[in-house]
């Protein structure tokens, strides 16, 4: 009897749990579904009341129209190039810096780290105009350089995050590697990087998403239509007089999809990171 009621309350708990989770999932996924649904609608269906979730005809030609109106393939290629280079640059420069700041011993190391951290306090708009002036002087405007090159010079937040992660990797491993005749770079390459994968995946994903979704950088640096990115193309669909919501949403789906895929792939690393155990200090 008692056992039965226990089972029942457990079932009720599960039922409740699933109900809450389902409600949460619906709330999270509804805007996404609305986007996909609107992207397949005819223009006049977009604001019908009551709202239409499933359009009368699926207008896949909306997608064709997006590619027709603006050079979206070119935008896609440009965005992927910039985001790829930025991600590579950040991973390379920040992991090296974080390695130096966490594993190597040299005078003023912590001071350097604190100065680096202090740069996080300066709001981006303050440095905007000087940086733009520098890029202009270098004649880098209307090229990818102002967007890509800074990534190869580190950044406070990723360095901080990687340093904290690297600090927790036991020093015994370094010592063992040194015993086996490993150089400092060898330790970085053979020990720290492989063990730092989860943190690197996080940084990589954040940088990739940041570069992919960046609107302001491309807006001020990229003039020519041949150099422009997806976010700028997307902004064009937000019309001056009125907005073609069905096209805007189709374009948004195109822009969001790669990010979604990137997340699905790197999510595996996140999970790996969480389950990574087995080193005894």
């Amino acid at each position: 009897m008692r056992r039965g009621s226990h089972k029942l309350s457990r079932r009720l708990f599960l039922l409740l749990l699933y109900a809450v989770l389902t409600a949460g999932a619906v709330v999270m996924v509804a805007p996404f579904l609305w986007m996909v649904s609107t992207s397949l609608k005819a223009p006049h269906e977009t604001f019908m009341l009551p709202p239409i979730w499933i359009p009368e005809d699926f207008r896949f030609e909306n997608y064709a129209e997006v590619f027709d109106r603006l050079p979206f393939f070119r935008f896609l290629l440009n965005t992927a190039t910039i985001a790829g280079l930025v991600t590579f640059g950040v991973l390379l420069s920040c992991s090296l810096t974080a390695f130096a700041l966490s594993r190597l011993r040299f005078r003023g190391r912590d001071l350097v780290f604190y100065i680096l951290l202090a740069t996080m306090i300066i709001p981006a708009p303050v440095t905007l105009v000087p940086i733009f002036a520098i890029m202009r002087r270098l004649e880098w405007t209307n090229t990818f350089l102002p967007l890509v090159v800074p990534a190869f010079f580190g950044g406070a937040f990723p360095v901080f995050l990687l340093r904290q992660f690297f600090m927790r990797i036991p020093r015994d491993l370094d010592e063992a590697a040194v015993m086996d005749g490993c150089s400092a770079f060898g330790i970085y390459w053979r020990v720290i990087l492989p063990l730092g994968k989860p943190a690197l995946a996080t940084i990589g994903l954040i940088s990739f998403m940041g570069a992919w979704n960046d609107f302001f950088g491309p807006l001020i640096y990229l003039y020519s239509i041949k150099k422009q990115t997806l976010t700028l193309g997307l902004a064009t669909f937000q019309g001056y007089y009125a907005t073609d919501w069905h096209l805007l949403m189709a374009a948004t789906v195109i822009v969001t999809l790669p990010i979604l895929l990137a997340f699905l792939f790197s999510q595996r690393f996140f999970v790996e990171g969480i389950t990574m155990t087995g080193i005894k200090g």
């Binding site: 005819a42 223009p43 006049h44 977009t46 604001f47 019908m48 009341l49 997006v66 027709d68 109106r69 603006l70 733009f132 202009r136 405007t141 609107f215 807006l219 001020i220 003039y223 020519s224 239509i225 041949k226 422009q228 976010t231 700028l232 193309g233 902004a235 064009t236 669909f237 019309g239 001056y240 007089y241 009125a242 907005t243 073609d244 919501w245 096209l247």
Partner: protein, 401 residues
């Protein structure tokens, strides 16, 4: 110059063309650039579409000496650039090539000429029209707007068209809609024989009783008669989308509404705006101007002539072509997508009381002051008198600088 291989090497002159607009317009303009290059084998045209705030982007690039040679301009920022001396005055070139400016609407010229000089060639204009949903009018037995109709007719129709269809105490169909920004309220002021400034742009004249009466009328539509949606009822929805979903019976929108409402699931037509003491409407003018610092003024001039006088002038989308003859051919009842009363659009465009709003060189500054002060009016918290009284000294200070 023969087309002898090495395509891009032959094109010694590069023209940068800054533009913006709907994706459809950008698509067309890319095509115009290609056609122009075919006609001028020594020129390469680089398209530079601007996303976001055009005024900011162009002024930043002009200030940095990094601006395109040809700029697609609107009268709401053209004069600011002209006043700073960043644009090439075109009068000499116009006289040299004998271009007949009379082929454009007078209202278009009001948006490209400043202080006696011409700074651009006009591509297209946009005027405000009254769009009305005939299905809603029929359902409640309200007669359609007629030429020469007045504010009283407008209010009377709006009151009869405002409906709470499901009886929940909330309005489901709004009788009318007025945009509470300059293009929306200025026509009412002009109709009541008032304006924002005196003729030489020194005195702010919105404290004139007639101007106040016009603004008061709009505030009353929202808060006294409750026939027009205020900001809360609109929420974040665009008013044209609200009209397209059948929740507004009469709305003032730009001519672009004609395109926007294609395929709407109800019958609609356009009418001239109602009048008070006289008619009144505002015009937005889209034009092409030349950067004063361009290294290739002749080629830039050829490009803007091509865009405004040649084939592209017939392919204006969304707006009214600036050439009277082309506009008359395109905007005609019976043409595809044109409303029955298309005549009213041309009548509005040629009406002498259809004028460029006072987009002076300091428009950006005084319009933001005005916007802030009028905010309370459109929220129903501040009286019109109080708002304009507060705005006046601030705006006149800006004008006097």
């Amino acid at each position: 110059m023969a087309a002898c291989g090495g395509e891009d090497e032959d094109r010694r002159i590069e023209l940068r063309w800054g533009l913006w607009g709907t994706p459809e317009a950008v698509q067309n303009q890319r095509r115009f650039a290609r056609d122009f290059m075919r006609l001028h084998p020594n020129v390469r045209v680089e398209i530079e579409p601007v996303a976001g705030d055009v005024t900011v982007a162009f002024s930043m690039r002009l200030a940095g000496g990094d601006a395109p040679d040809v700029l697609y301009a609107g009268n709401w920022f053209l004069f600011e650039f002209a006043d700073k001396g960043t644009l090439l005055p075109l009068d000499d070139l116009i006289a040299r090539d004998g271009i007949d400016m009379g082929q454009f609407f007078d209202s278009a010229l009001s948006g490209i000429q400043w202080d006696g000089a011409t700074y651009a060639l006009p591509e297209a204009i946009n005027v405000e029209m009254l769009f009305y949903n005939q299905d809603i009018f029929d359902r409640y037995g309200v007669s359609y707007p007629e030429p020469g109709w007045t504010w009283d007719d407008y209010l009377e129709k709006a009151r009869r068209l405002t409906q709470d269809t499901d009886g929940d105490g909330r309005t489901d169909i709004w009788g009318c809609y007025v945009w509470t920004w300059i293009p929306g309220f200025l026509p009412f002021m002009l109709q009541n024989e008032s304006n924002m400034f005196d003729d030489d742009f020194r005195r702010f004249t919105m404290d004139d009783p007639r101007a106040i009466e016009a603004l008061q009328f709009i505030q009353d539509l929202i808060f006294r008669y409750r026939v027009a949606p205020g900001r809360q009822a609109l929420q974040s929805q665009l008013s044209i989308d609200m009209f397209a979903s059948g929740r507004i019976a009469m709305g003032s929108f730009g001519y672009w509404g004609v395109r926007e409402l294609q395929g709407a699931p109800f019958r609609w037509d356009v009418a001239e705006l109602p009048r008070r003491r006289t008619t009144g409407n505002v015009v937005h003018v889209h034009s092409f101007a030349i950067n004063r610092e361009t290294e290739h003024p002749e080629e830039a001039w050829e490009l803007i002539k091509y865009l405004t006088l040649d084939e592209p002038a017939r392919e204006v989308v969304y707006l009214i072509p600036a050439q009277k003859r082309i506009a008359a051919e395109m905007i005609r009842a019976g043409n595809e997508g044109m409303p029955a009363n298309a005549e009213a659009i041309l009548a509005t465009a040629t009406d002498p009381n259809t004028v460029s709003p006072p987009f002076g060189p300091r428009f950006g500054e005084y319009s933001s002051v005005l916007g802030l002060e009028l905010d309370g009016v459109w929220l129903g918290k501040v009286s019109v008198e109080e708002a304009v009284r507060k705005a006046k000294p601030q705006i006149e200070l800006i004008l006097s600088e």
